[in-house]
Amino acid sequence: MKRLLDSLKNIVGPDAMITAASELMVYECDGFTIEKNRPDVVVFPTTTEQVSRIVDACNYFKVPFLPRGAGTSLAGGCLPVGGGVVISLARMKKIFDVDYRNRCALIEAGVINLWLTNHLKPHGYHFAPDPSSQGACTIGGNVATNSGGPHTLKYGVTVNHVMGVEFVMPDGEIIHTGGPVEDNPGYDLTGVIVGSEGTFGVAVKSWVRITRNPDTYRTLLGVFNSVDDATNTISEIIGAGIVPAALEMLDQMILGALEDAFHFGFPLDAGAILIMEVDGLEAGIDTEAERITSIAVKNGAREVRKADTEAKRTLLWKARKQAFGAVGRLASSFCTQDGVVPRSKLPHILREIQKIGAKYDLKICNVFHAGDGNIHPILLFDERYPDQVKRVLEASGEILDECIRVGGSVTGEHGIGVEKIDFMAKLFSPDDIAMMIRLRNAFNPTNNCSPQKMLPTAGACIEASKAGRMAAM
């Protein structure tokens, strides 16, 4: 290890590494805090060549390594299983080249998602993937996890906006896939690198698509007496062939917490509200907003309010995007789950979540990307009581099993990480997983890069490992 540390010091310099135990604590985990493991060292490269040399050194000394962005992953993607070297991209923050005429930008991995959008704003553009964590998470992390956000309903998730990457392979080689021009011949390597959760190598730079801002918005707040009425509305809006820019649901419990935090004026006696946003050209937008309003009313909305000033809209989205933060007002610990169901099954899955909460005597609140069928039940508990922790784990598992049963998935955006490895065998057959392992072997044959992530290893015992599985607490 000493020799590895010397090599790393040569590569990045003493000011760009952390080895003190007290400072390493921050890097023991990410937003998934139930499993922790301290890395041996964290390095902060500033160039692609440095990343490549770090990877070479790790391979030479046979020490595992792992890329890390802002560490907001909720699935344990940044857990340094087996210790080793954490390669933080946090100091690679350059926005190199924004080409408005060709609608693309070349940026480094450590650029924070929201900075990019702020950078583009004066020119009337934005980066479309807008995860709720966008004020903190990095573009590299978005690329690795294929992040979504409220507006990805209309605009698509990260993979739909990444045209190419500069990538350090797990053997240290620097490659470029795709680029600023569409349709380069050959396999869509960019497409599989996005969402590979750091198991294929380190994304150092990305060419991303930039999107023109819409001319205008209509942001509506549908107020419902029951969750059922709200989910039926979602189902009917989608079924009617309307593609809103965003369609988000918040239930009564989360509304209370948000009102305390933001004083938006949410109706606290509502069973649920829907944030329904349409955007685009001025022409026709009111017609679309009216169609949505009448579907909401038909499904029992007791009122449909308009966030008709920019200030109101901004506050509403701020409240929505910081909802997880406000949950701290409801309980000392919470577990944010991430599952997906076909959109017509939303009324069903929300009822099931309620039943499961009652069965395990747990409070569960809901705030989620409803238009995509992407649920985020938040299970509240107190981590000092092991019995509660156990019930949270079992209830989470039951919710995700129900998502699978109705034809959905166990993660819409947070990823598999270490948290959901055990669910892979429930979603996929051994043959399917064998193909995924083969693909990983093409990129990462020694598995020295991000070991023990995403894919179950042969022979792992599902039940024994279960105790440690939990989403963001």
């Binding site: 349709d183 050959g186 399917d432 193909m435």
Partner: protein, 415 residues
């Protein structure tokens, strides 16, 4: 299909399995005899790429064409890959939905073929390409097993995204047996604004269309030779170029955009025509078909990918190099199709392609040859200039198809 329009598959036997189990048996058998397997759907694109480097069988998926599930209210559909795109389109249309991908062979293409070749057309500017719509995929692998990735929900990050990998892989990594797609509502209205342009104005008009207040879903540039082809002849356009700007949205938005774009460009010399649905639908279709038309005698069709901002200058260079060239560009996306005239010699064609390829590569793009005379393929850059990431592509190929059974030699760098 005339022989000159197909790969050299003379000694190949065609097998047409009636279900997935039978297809898997064929693959397993070929794996034991080390025969090549050339997947085919309806056969409309069997001329693209190099002829296989080994003999074997053509595995035709046309009977794997069943609807598996169409929960229209979820806006997704799951079908077997051999289904004809026209049958899928008809089915979706009954629910007022569609897959907004242009099919250059309307009536002929199978969905699997469209996917394997990552085919697209004018609408890609506004609606994206197939990779944006495939959310689940089943693949018959080298061991003759059906394996899947993705799922049936519109948002899903569980496992690696094989949907992307197989889209555009030309069947070299396995056989696509089943696909789940995200679909879209049919647009309420559409229209096309046509602008006749002099060569001198093309670049500035394209720049202005880029910043128009409207939101086109297609920006198509055709040169004079292209406008003379039967697909467009009835439009009676004879300027140097014609720009087709297409809109598809709600009725009010389409009306406003159509009425806005024309005055925005009123100072450009040349005539402006506005064509509203339903008569615009033929134009959309024909713009989608241009890439697959065969101009009599034309020995070669290329597809270049360059930055959108370079379309005008690159097309000017191409026309200067080969004056008889018929050109169409999906100008918003930087894609240019060109059909060479019938009277060029092999050497002239080779020199021109070499020059245009170099220019495209300098712009970080490339140029491929979806169609040329079979015996030209030995020295023409069928898949353009090979890029350094070919190394990784080879590793992917070796890992997923270690016996090199699927379409051996057909795709980039004879992979």
């Amino acid at each position: 299909m005339p022989l000159s329009e197909s790969l050299n598959l003379n000694s190949f036997q065609t097998k047409t399995p009636s279900d997935v189990a039978e297809a898997c048996d064929i693959i397993r058998h070929s794996a034991s005899t080390l025969d090549a397997i050339v997947p085919s759907g309806s056969g409309s694109k069997m001329h693209i790429g190099y002829s296989p480097s080994r003999n074997g069988v053509i595995l035709c998926t046309k009977n794997l064409n069943k609807l598996v599930d169409y929960p229209a209210r979820d806006m997704t559909v799951t079908v077997q890959a051999g289904i004809l795109v026209k049958d899928l389109t008809e089915m979706l249309n009954k629910e007022n939905q569609r897959l907004p991908i242009d099919d250059p062979y309307p009536g002929e293409s199978s969905l699997g073929g469209l996917l394997a070749t990552n085919t697209s057309g004018p609408r890609r500017f506004g609606w994206g390409t197939l990779r944006d719509y495939v959310i689940g995929i089943s693949i018959l692998n080298d061991e003759g097993r059906e394996t899947k990735a993705g799922g049936r929900v519109v948002k899903n990050v569980a496992g690696y995204d094989f949907c992307k990998l197989h889209t555009g892989a030309f069947g070299t990594l396995g056989i696509i047996s089943q696909v789940t797609l995200k679909v879209r509502p049919n647009p309420e209205a559409s229209s096309m604004v046509l602008l006749s342009l002099n060569s001198a104005n093309v670049e500035s008009v394209l720049d202005r269309v880029h910043t128009t207040k409207t939101r086109p879903v297609a920006v198509e540039l055709l040169n004079r030779n292209a406008l003379q082809q039967p697909l467009f002849k009835n439009l009676d356009l004879s300027s140097d170029y014609c720009l087709f700007v297409g809109f598809e949205h709600g009725a009010e938005a389409v009306k406003w955009q159509t009425e806005t774009l024309a005055p925005e460009l009123s100072d450009v010399p040349g005539k402006i025509d506005i064509i509203h649905g339903p008569s615009d639908s033929a134009i959309w279709r024909n713009l989608g078909m241009f890439q697959s038309t065969r101009i009599p005698g034309s020995p070669l069709t290329f597809k270049a990918n360059i930055p959108s901002s370079k379309v005008a200058s690159w097309c000017a260079l191409a026309s200067d190099t080969l004056p008889g060239l018929s050109l169409q560009s999906h100008a918003g996306s930087g894609i240019v199709f060109g059909h060479l005239p019938g009277d060029v010699s092999r050497q002239m064609a080779f020199d021109a392609i070499t020059l245009l390829l170099q220019k495209a590569v300098r712009y970080q793009g490339n140029l491929v040859i979806p169609y040329c005379l079979e015996d030209w393929k030995s020295d023409f850059p069928v898949w353009g200039q090979v890029r350094p990431d070919i190394k990784i592509m080879r590793k992917v190929k070796e890992s997923l198809d270690p016996k090199a059974m699927f379409n051996p030699g057909r795709f980039v760098d004879h992979i």
